[in-house]
């Protein structure tokens, strides 16, 4: 989170489209509890403004049926943790996004770099 954001508004727009799929992407391989998930996202450049805003996103993903959650007692005796798991519907949404994202970003690259005669 140390890099200087050149265009915060641009980044905000890009993130708006991709963030929930990045969350699904992180959950695709494993279930994670809230704090862990938020910290992993936060460690990636430009992915979150405030960590707190991820929780409403997770709530919405649950309402959409893409993620499910359950509270569990912590084995180490700490506070209870809410574990998030991707659902089948979530996996399908993630797969669709991944395909579209590849095509789209390649097209954008072609336009941005190709118009100047450079190799993408």
């Amino acid at each position: 989170m140390c890099r200087v954001v050149v265009a915060p508004d641009v980044l905000s727009q890009l993130r708006r489209g991709a963030l929930e799929y990045c969350v699904l992407g992180l959950l695709s391989g494993q279930e994670l509890y809230g704090f862990d998930l938020v910290k992993r996202l936060g460690a990636m450049e430009g992915m979150v403004t405030g960590e707190g805003t991820v929780y409403p996103l997770l709530s919405r993903l649950q309402r959409d049926g893409r993620v499910s959650s359950s509270w569990r007692e912590s084995s180490s005796g700490g506070p209870p943790r809410k574990y998030y798991t991707i659902t089948a519907r979530g996996q399908r949404a993630l797969a669709e996004f991944t395909t579209e994202w590849s095509r789209f970003s390649r097209t954008v690259d072609t336009i941005l770099h190709g118009s100047r005669g450079e190799m993408a």
């Binding site: 809230g34 704090f35 960590e51 707190g52 409403p56 709530s59 919405r60």
Partner: protein, 191 residues
């Protein structure tokens, strides 16, 4: 002392609760639970004040968290419940605040000095201004009117009574009516 008991954390959660007041209840409860659990995990018993401040900073302002919650509502967005105003929201332009503006000043001047400087017209203008005012309440306007007109009414009744009395006590021809009733009333107290 657990992380949640730290005064800065308590303050943050209180602000979050206030900012979230307009959200649908289930969503608000869930949000509070999620953020509390996060803070409980993030802040251990040995955390320093600086640690706590850092954690809260990374979490982001309660208002931003609630804004994200509103974003995610979609069809669940409350129709009737009002969206809480942002912190430090200014009074919207065009709304007059406070009891004194140019209209009100004219009203008071008209009702007081106006009776002497511009008799009859002054107080009438003052009364009109009083009723036009957007800052004074209905009650204040009524009081101003009563105080303004009551002496006039009293004099009028007295004058009529005098006329009736004096004309009743003469035989024929009647008497000349009593002198002109002067509007030398005082405005009394103004709101």
């Amino acid at each position: 002392m657990t992380g949640l008991q730290h005064p800065l954390v308590q303050d943050y959660l209180a602000r979050l609760d206030r900012a979230a007041a307009g959200l649908p209840p289930e969503i608000r409860v869930e949000l509070m639970a999620d953020l509390s659990a996060h803070l409980d995990s993030a802040i251990g018993p040995t955390a320093t004040d600086a640690d706590v401040r850092n954690t809260l900073q990374e979490l982001g302002a309660p208002e931003d968290v609630v804004a994200a919650a509103y974003d995610g509502l979609g069809s669940l967005a409350p129709v009737a419940a009002p969206v809480p105003p942002p912190y430090g929201a200014a009074v919207p332009a065009g709304v007059a605040t406070g009891p004194w503006g140019p209209v009100e000043i004219i009203a008071v001047v008209g009702l007081t000095a106006g009776t002497f400087l511009v008799p009859f017209v002054g107080p009438v203008v003052g009364l009109v201004m009083a009723w036009v005012s957007e800052r004074w309440t209905q009650r204040e306007k009524v009081i101003a009117t009563v105080l303004c007109l009551a002496p006039v009414l009293a004099l009028a009744i007295g004058g009529i009574g005098l006329v009736a009395f004096t004309s009743g006590s003469s035989q024929s021809g009647g008497t000349a009516p009593a002198g002109p009733i002067t509007s030398s009333y005082s405005a009394g107290e103004t709101p």
